[in-house]
Symmetry: C3
Subunit: 474 residues, 3 copies
């Protein structure tokens, strides 16, 4: 808004509490974890980047267009998706110059003040691209040119960034229909970066998914199983899970609208599947089928050892007009109140005490942290708590996660941080935020004499590095 530029800084003490004693402790704790390699056990980067190792196109295509965290905020303030160059489902696209879209973004960058997006983006601008002025209308072109030029240089190729980011391992997420050719190419290439997949079968499990019928058909083709009958369908899952495990997967992931699980008899499950396949099912039957499949997935995890993740409680594509015009994942996913205690009981009755089964739970309903999730995870051997997720992985949300789960679940029933992102360049920023918030939280416990500093230091390393490796069997 001002014509003068403002310096862009990334303060060494960012996210640390103001009180000097506490800040000094946070700093010392952070020194133990600042340089640890990144473990990213759950996320949505594109394996094709690491297989092909081609340069990213420009600032807009890299940082704005794919990031619904970012463009949803612009949209909420009246900026059309067309103006940002987001493609429509009919394949059409407003003929937007990417520089022009970047200017719109820069002009409205103040909308992000205080949000995690601004923190992540400024970290990327400062540390990845070496920029030292704030982004605003006056510096838009300078930013666009600088970033776009950098992206053509070898040190900004995906693999170079992967190495520079000190990523020890990254997991992507694929549908059972994915041939995993990019993962194969990465392994065949001889490159040392460890990129694994995760089994995310929602499109072939959710009867209400708009692609279900076609996906089921393809599921039969890729497996050679008779997936329109219950036994063949289950065999197909087992086969693809094994294929994913061979490609490095250590986990599955399930993004259902609720956390409901069921434990039907074989006959009832087969009968329900028949209805699902025939397309003549009620909403309640669809829900019951998804619920049954979570328990089936747990049963398979008992055999093949894949760690199970449930990411429930989101109303996907809430904005009808936008969904029709631009398709899925356009920033219109809205959290729902989510119940766990009754919902998970059928699955836990079967597998909750199994010594080798691991189920990592996530939530978008923070009221469940202290009421349901921490008490469940603080009792069942199978259960672990995933970190603050999606809408809640800002510093405030991470702090609440610790503050609301600590007393019943402790630290050791949690699994460290997930970045869960498709914004590759922001991964170091996100892990850095998580590490800083955990160190600030631990520093508070130390200054209040609830923990000795040596214990806090051990915990800081566990939360940043050891717990994710253990939880995800990495």
């Amino acid at each position: 808004m001002n014509s003068a530029t403002h310096p862009l800084t990334l303060h060494d003490d960012r996210l640390f509490p103001a009180e000097p004693t506490q800040r000094a402790i946070a700093r010392r704790l952070y020194a133990h974890v600042a340089k640890l390699p990144i473990i990213s056990p759950h996320g949505h980067t594109d394996p094709a980047w690491f297989a092909g190792n081609q340069p990213f196109a420009n600032a807009t295509q890299l940082l704005l267009v794919p990031d619904h965290y970012v463009f949803r905020m612009l949209y909420s303030q009246g900026i059309s998706l067309d103006a940002l160059g987001i493609a429509r489902v009919d394949g059409s696209r407003n003929d937007v110059d990417p520089r022009q879209a970047w200017r719109v973004f820069a002009h409205h960058f103040h909308l992000f003040r205080g949000t995690p997006s601004s923190m992540w983006l400024n970290h990327v601008f400062h540390d990845v691209f070496g920029l030292r002025v704030r982004l605003d209308a006056g510096t838009a072109d300078q930013y666009y040119d600088h970033i776009t030029a950098a992206l053509q240089r070898p040190e900004y190729l995906p693999r170079s960034l992967f190495e520079r980011f000190n990523i020890e391992l990254i997991a992507t997420t694929e549908s059972p229909l994915d041939p995993l050719q990019h993962h194969a190419a990465i392994r065949a290439s001889g490159w040392g970066g460890r990129v694994i997949t995760a089994y995310r079968p929602d499109p072939v499990i959710d009867p209400e998914h708009e692609q279900f019928t076609a996906a089921l058909q393809a599921f039969g083709e890729i497996t050679g199983e008779d997936v329109h009958h219950w036994d063949g369908y289950l065999r197909a899952h087992r086969q693809r899970r094994a294929f994913f495990a061979q490609a490095g997967a250590t986990s599955t992931d399930h993004g259902h609208p609720t956390a409901a699980t069921a434990d039907l008899s074989r006959a009832d499950a087969a009968r329900l599947f028949g209805k699902v396949v025939s397309g003549t099912f009620s909403a309640q039957e669809a829900e019951c089928f998804r619920a049954q499949m979570l328990t089936e997935m747990a049963a398979m995890s008992m055999d093949d050892g894949l760690v199970m993740q449930i990411h429930p409680g989101c109303f996907r594509n809430h904005n009808r007009t936008l969904f029709e015009r631009y398709g899925r994942d356009k920033g219109a996913d809205i959290p729902l109140r989510t119940e766990y205690v009754n919902a998970l009981k059928p699955l836990l009755d079967r597998f909750g005490n199994a010594p080798d089964f691991k189920l990592i739970l996530f939530t978008l309903d923070e009221s469940s942290y202290s009421r349901e999730l921490a008490p469940l995870a603080g009792h069942y051997p199978a259960l672990h708590l995933g970190p603050a997720w999606w809408f809640h992985d800002a510093p405030e949300g991470m702090w609440r996660f610790r503050e609301w789960t600590l007393s019943s679940a402790g630290f050791y029933n949690t699994v460290g941080f997930n970045d869960d992102t498709r914004a590759f360049l922001s991964i170091p920023a996100r892990h850095d935020v998580a590490r800083r918030v955990d160190c600030a939280f631990l520093a508070k416990l130390v200054t209040e004499h609830r923990l000795d500093e040596d214990e806090a230091a051990e915990l800081a390393v566990d939360l940043a590095y050891n717990l994710p490796k253990r939880a995800y069997k990495l």
Copy 2:
């Protein structure tokens, strides 16, 4: 309780964090907003005060009897409403000397320790009346005499206080049946104070309102429309909305038990209205009618530009005995769990993307802040978040509002502060609290290096002044 008096002070640094760096920043930010004019876009002051400009009667009638924030706390500790001089619905009133009622209040003033009521009242005592000792049993008479005498002086007349309070604009709230004669008188008087109205049609929209049948009858009389048929009923709303807009209104307000909206066909809506008018409707039909009317109101806002507010989620008049004896609004309104994501979808499907439609959402269910409201407002162009409301407009509640909405909605999808009060004298105190809490919150972001101080200063002014003007089209 002690016989000695205690000094009453209003510390310059009240509500600012203790840590010196943070406090210094909060102070600097507050300096930018301390003297800004008050924008009060939603509240319940009586326009007759400003039209008639008559003196307030005495301390008890002004500060105690009308304020259910205050007398509910006394009642909760066993003090009868009769003893405070609250009138009964049968018109009877315990013959309570207002001085005697004031003594009861003063004797129990310690019950308010730490509550927003004590903060607001002490601000009024100190700044409006110049008192410098704390209110307690020993100072009750001194207070009563001092305040009651002051109220007879010209500088304590409503218009003088309005000016002294530096109020740029205040909105009152009226029923569609209100002839708005006080607003007309204010305008006709030549006085410069800007007092506008807001359209609050609950009594003619809610079939379960105890005055619905009579109110509907009067609605027909005041508009000359056939309000017992659907088309005429809608025309009557349009007519009164236009009349309110001419009297300065820029907004409507809707206090429904839930946030449910509906989008019935014209024929179904007309049929439902027929049932409502006939008096033979179920609770579910009443709910459906209120839901449909929210969408109708939104449709009218598309035409006349009035900003829409929804204040849902309150169980009104929960205490049956008290309601029968003393009537509505006696401190027995209790918040309810409130769902927004499914409830608002019918309305949002029609108007959520409309560039000129504005819907400001409030809640009494703080668990919805991070889960539903911030994600909704951080996506839909039409949606904005109203501030912490009613039971939650204390410093803790305001802080939670910011902390729980920031990451998904940012600051710019919020609309600044509403005092929402009928306690006229407390308005400067309430806005001052809001400004101080926002400055304290921003100071925390600055000390944690998430925001530069110049950005925080701009935000402080936006939150205190610019955002309410923009959101309410003032």
Copy 3:
């Protein structure tokens, strides 16, 4: 984990905020309450300890086996209950050497870092047993020997500890079937310790309790009433309540799955009871019966003056396998979302305004604090808020309780602290934590100039001592 020992300290400033001004105020406030006698108006210690005054067996039997707070955390990390010496329902018990179980516990003590269990246990180790090294694998035997030896000394007998702990009064909790012989023995012994009971009739009220039929039978035998008919059943309650009151009880307690209350006609209630007695009732009828009985209990409290407590919202014995193998209360109780506003209305419609009736409400659903419980307690004369309970009585939970209830309920509609524990030795630690957290909270209000320090000092004493005595009529 390290072979070197670490010093165990109990810092004088523990739980106080880091900021020096605030900490100094917290310290001064705490000085007013640190030495006050302990009022423990609700808990689960065994009266046989104080009647028999026999030594506790050993460290494991005293501190580990009975404490499901502690062993649930070990269980959640894969340690079997057998390895800890927890008995099975079939009477069998793994032949575990208690020293061996203690070693398992010590080896995993890091799991409790940051949890209230570690705080309470370290307080016991340090202050009750004089230990000055941290518990870990290396010090396990030293701990076991030291504690077990101490327990044989006279100053570690139950009555000696009671006196050393400066307990003014402790309430235990008994079923109506309990003959209260231990309480009689305590009174008859001439010992000065005040140990009273509380009436907890769940087993004879909840038709779904696994012991209901047998308990009802025994209820008839102990009272000589025809408890299989409604009138006799109610008379039996009145009789036992009177017997409990004679044994010192001042309260009843009700641990229902929900807060539902009902107000049926006498005929409907009798008919419902008939179904309950016959064993042919639906889940809904069981719920309705429990709901009706809360209102009946309130009616009896109107007569006999017993303070009523409701502890709702827990899914008991959630882990089926564990329940079958080890029985009730094995750390598998999980909180549920709990509604109060509609649930309590039938009871409040009858007794909410009664001047002498007292109902203390608890919750495991923290989202109800600011939304439902504080507004209810800040209005109804009969209602008071019990403190942060069970999963929430950690420092964070206690802080949230204050922060979320203050604005609507103030301090004076709360009732001070309950330890609610069977872990006798931890009682001083638990009350100390509560007093420190309250002093820290008050210190924040003082530094932010919302309260003068003399008011805070008065409040600190009220919260620690006067309010529980008043609320529980002690």
